[in-house]
Structure formats: structure tokens, C-alpha cells
């Protein structure tokens, strides 16, 4: 009798949580463990790996050439994140003041462009920014500039592409935190004689900080890995961590080094998440948007 009861409760448990647990083990735990193992092995002659144990792959990361790439990646990601906050915060704040219907319409209007292939939209930016492109043509025919501006195949182009691609991940968490803002707090501040600037700095900003932090994580981390944006708008001159990892698997055929770089990128991500949780961020806030 007792065993029968046990079986009865095990079957639904297994059919519901079994598939997801099994899938995560097969396609997340095993692959991540595997690249961790590979990162200590030697490279094979034609790609792949050779058995062995070495710390050389990790030692190679600290080569000055690669350290510069990491530094540039982190810098580009930081600038992208800062620009996303600067552009998205006022935008989202102004939208949140509108009526319920307008708000709903505006938020879905933010989402619509992002259902179109990101590659095609980035390609449009090439047409806009390149030397004989739309913006240069327009500015030259208006006689604002005499020489075409170099807006692509440099850091500027990459940053435009990154900000454009990642800004909805800043807008959405910001929107939900600004929406939740308790208006009575602002009124209280106003009644007590706080000037708008002061009220913003001491009430609005601290209360919406969780949205800013969540948005910053959702922008900063992907920027490090989006190699196709660097490829398309940075040309071959700009390298980010993502491009470096990709090259180890495609051109350099040095899988163990690529694996070591990936572990390094995971550590960087975890460090960012640690800081995020430390300053009061909630992991749950990161899920709903991407």
C-alpha cells in the first residue's frame, strides 16, 4: 500500500520536472563542464582537442595583446551601457507619465522594431553610416560638412549598433520600475518644499535604481559577446571578447584557448552579477526581458 502511494506521487513529479531537469543536465551542465575540462587540454592539429593537462591556455589570456582586447571590450560595453541609461531613462520616464492607453501603445511600439531580424537592422545602419551612406550624403548636400565623416569601422559605429540593438533591454526594466514609483512620495517631497531637481535626486532616482541596475546588466553582459555587431560595424579593426572566442573556433582552430576564454567570460559575467546582487539587485528581475 505504502509503495503504491509512493509510485503514484513519483510519476507526476517525474513527468513534469523530469524533462526540464534532464534537458538542463544534457544541454547546459554537461556542455559547460566539458568546456571547463577542455580549457586545460592541448590543441589538436586540425582543430579539436588533444588529451593532456596544461595551464598554458589560461597563461595565454594574460598576454598584453589579449588584455588590450578585454580592456577595449569592457570599455565599449561600459560606454554602451551608460548611453543606454542616458537615452532610455528620460524616454521611459516621459512615457510613464502618459495615460494608460498611450503607455500600452508606446511600450508595444518599442518592441515592434525588435521583432525584425537584428542583422537586417544592423545592415541598415551600415547604409546610414558609411562614407557614401545616407547621413553623409544628407549632411554634404546641406553643406554642413565638406568631407564625409568616418562613422563606421571604428568604435563609434560599434557603439551605435550596440546601443541600438540593446536599448529595449534597458527600456523594459526601467519602465517596470518607474511604473511602480509611488507618486505620493513625490507629492510629499513637493509639499515639503523640495525643488524638482532635489526631488529627482533624493526620491525618484533611488526608487528607480533597481530598474537601472537590471537594465545595466541586461545591456553590459550581451555587449561583450555580440561578435556580429563588431564584425559588421567595426570592420576587422575592432575586436571584442566575442570576436576573439569566435576566431579560436573558426579561423585559429585553437579550441582549448577558446574554451579558456569562454571560462574567463563566464567569470566576468558572474563578477558583474555578484556586483549586481551586492548593490541590491534581484536575479528574478533579469528574466522577463531579452
Amino acid at each position: 500500500m505504502k509503495t503504491r502511494l509512493k509510485i503514484k506521487s513519483i510519476v507526476p513529479r517525474l513527468t513534469m520536472t523530469g524533462p526540464v531537469a534532464g534537458w538542463m543536465i544534457l544541454f547546459v551542465v554537461i556542455p559547460f563542464t566539458y568546456i571547463f575540462v577542455i580549457s586545460f587540454m592541448n590543441r589538436g592539429t586540425y582543430g579539436g582537442v588533444e588529451l593532456g593537462f596544461t595551464l598554458q591556455n589560461y597563461a595565454n589570456i594574460f598576454d598584453a595583446k589579449y588584455l588590450m582586447i578585454f580592456l577595449n571590450s569592457i570599455l565599449l560595453a561600459a560606454v554602451t551601457t551608460a548611453l543606454c541609461i542616458l537615452i532610455a531613462y528620460p524616454f521611459t520616464y516621459f512615457i510613464a507619465q502618459k495615460t494608460a492607453v498611450t503607455k500600452t501603445v508606446f511600450v508595444s511600439m518599442v518592441m515592434i522594431p525588435f521583432t525584425v531580424s537584428s542583422l537586417v537592422r544592423i545592415y541598415s545602419w551600415i547604409n546610414l553610416l558609411r562614407k557614401d551612406g545616407i547621413i553623409n550624403n544628407l549632411l554634404m548636400s546641406l553643406r554642413v560638412i565638406d568631407e564625409p565623416l568616418q562613422m563606421i569601422y571604428n568604435n563609434f559605429g560599434v557603439i551605435v549598433g550596440m546601443v541600438y540593438t540593446l536599448i529595449p533591454f534597458m527600456i523594459l526594466p526601467l519602465y517596470s520600475s518607474i511604473e511602480k514609483l509611488d507618486k505620493s512620495m513625490l507629492e510629499a517631497g513637493n509639499d515639503l518644499g523640495a525643488k524638482p531637481a532635489r526631488a529627482f535626486a533624493t526620491i525618484t532616482l533611488p526608487l528607480t535604481a533597481p530598474g537601472i541596475f537590471a537594465g545595466a546588466i541586461m545591456v553590459f553582459i550581451p555587449t561583450l559577446g555580440y561578435f556580429f555587431i563588431t564584425d559588421m560595424l567595426g570592420g576587422s579593426k575592432i575586436m571584442m571578447i566575442g570576436n576573439l572566442i569566435r576566431n579560436q573556433f573558426v579561423t585559429a582552430k585553437n579550441w582549448p584557448f577558446g574554451a579558456a576564454l569562454s571560462i574567463f567570460l563566464i567569470v566576468l559575467t558572474l563578477a558583474a552579477l555578484w556586483v549586481y546582487e551586492r548593490i541590491g539587485g534581484d536575479l528574478e528581475d533579469l528574466g522577463g526581458m531579452r
Binding site: 513529479r13 513534469m16 520536472t17 531537469a21 544541454f27 525584425v116 545592415y123 546588466i217 561578435f227 569562454s262
Partner: protein
Amino acid sequence: MRRASKKRLTGRMRNVYIGLVFFFLYIPIALVIVYSFNTSKMNILFEGVTAHWYADMVRNRALMDSLKNTLIIAVLSTAASTVIGTLGAVGLSKYDFIGKKLLNKLLYIPVVIPEIVLGIALLCVYSAVRMTLGIATITLSHITFCIPFVIISVRARLAGMDKSLEEASMDLGAGRVRTFVSIILPLLLPGVFSGAVLSFCLSLDDIIISFFTSGPTSTTLPMKVFSMVKTGVTPEVNALFTVIMLCTIGIIAVNTGVQLRKMKSNK
């Protein structure tokens, strides 16, 4: 008086700012639509209106094959991740078991770790077990990153669900399966639906994971476009994406409509 006009001025400035950001968001997709009707093959000047790129698009075998691959992968991975994710979300909320906390943390990995890491990790495993890279490997990979998003959106729905309905159903003699199908599932449907839509869109647009897990004969549409970037993307591609854009806007409209109706009937 002065205060009122000042207020109106700041209000107008706010609208101008909102307009400028929307302009920034929409100009690239507007260009895609405009160039899909342009007679010139070069994506710079607009020379005249034509619809012949739409005819060329349908005749372009390579482009249509990549579209077919993309749709097969998106449909399969949406179906699988929706089933696995919905069952998982319900199971995770109903039962306690060893490793539940760990599983919950694991689900965040595909969401927060850069996609490139998942891409190369899966590539390494596929090559270790000697799986040929193709539609199967891409689909398996897409299911992996879609499951967490289905779980997140179903879970949001579960949080607001009335547990007593489930208990009532069991008390009245309905079995577990019957209760799940006729009580739990209909209540969760909006969450399941938005999880499925999200999965479909993510799979359709994925470039990074597909880059590492696809083989030479299984080019997806984003991969095809990526390979065209160096030589220039043809107007046929703009035409194709204009069509796709209309479809996705349709899906969003239906999704919003369903949610609005649900909101109304809840009132």
C-alpha cells in the same frame, strides 16, 4: 499664467524627445521597407518604385531554402520548449525535490551568460559525440535557450493562479491528468502563449548560437544574411524581411488582442 505656458513648453519638449527616440528606433526598419521597393540595386539612392524584388525573392532558391530551414527549426523548437517549459514550470511550483534550487539557478544560465558561450559549449559537445551539425543540432540548441523563457512567462501566470480550483477538481474526482488538461492548462494559456511567441521570435532571429551549431547544408536565414554582408545585401532580402515584418506585427497584434480580451473578461 507663465507657469502654465512653461508647463506646456516642457510637455512639448518631452514629446519631441519621445519622437526622436522612436525615430532612432524606426529609421533602420523604415529603410528596409523603402529599399524593398527601390528599382536601384544599390541601397543608397531611391530611384523608383518596383515590386519585382518580391517576385525575385520567391524565385531565389538559396534564400527560400534558408527560410524553410529557419521556419522548421523555429516551429520544432517552439513546440518542444513550450511543452517542456510548461510542464517544468508547473512541476517546479507544485513539488519540492532535491536539487530544485540548483535547477532554478541552472535555468538562468542561458538567460544571463553571453550566448556565445552556450554556442561554443554545445558545438564542443556535438563534435565530441560526433553529431553532424545540421538542422537537428540547431533545433536542440534553440530548445535549450527557449525553455527558460517559457518557464519565466508561465511562472508569472502561475503566481496569480487560484490553488483552490485545482483542489476542487481533485475533490470532485478528476484525476491528475484530467485536472491538468481541463483546469490548470486553460488558466495558464496566456502565459504559455506568450512564452511560445517569445521562443518563436528568439529562434527566428538567433544568429550567435546558430553560427556555431549549423552545418554547411543547414543555413538559416540570419546566417544567409550574415554571409551576404561583405558583398552587399540584395533588395530581395529587404523584400523578404518586409513580408516577415508584416507577419510578426500580426502575431504581436493577436497576442495583444488576446491579452486585452482576457483583461476585459477578468473585469
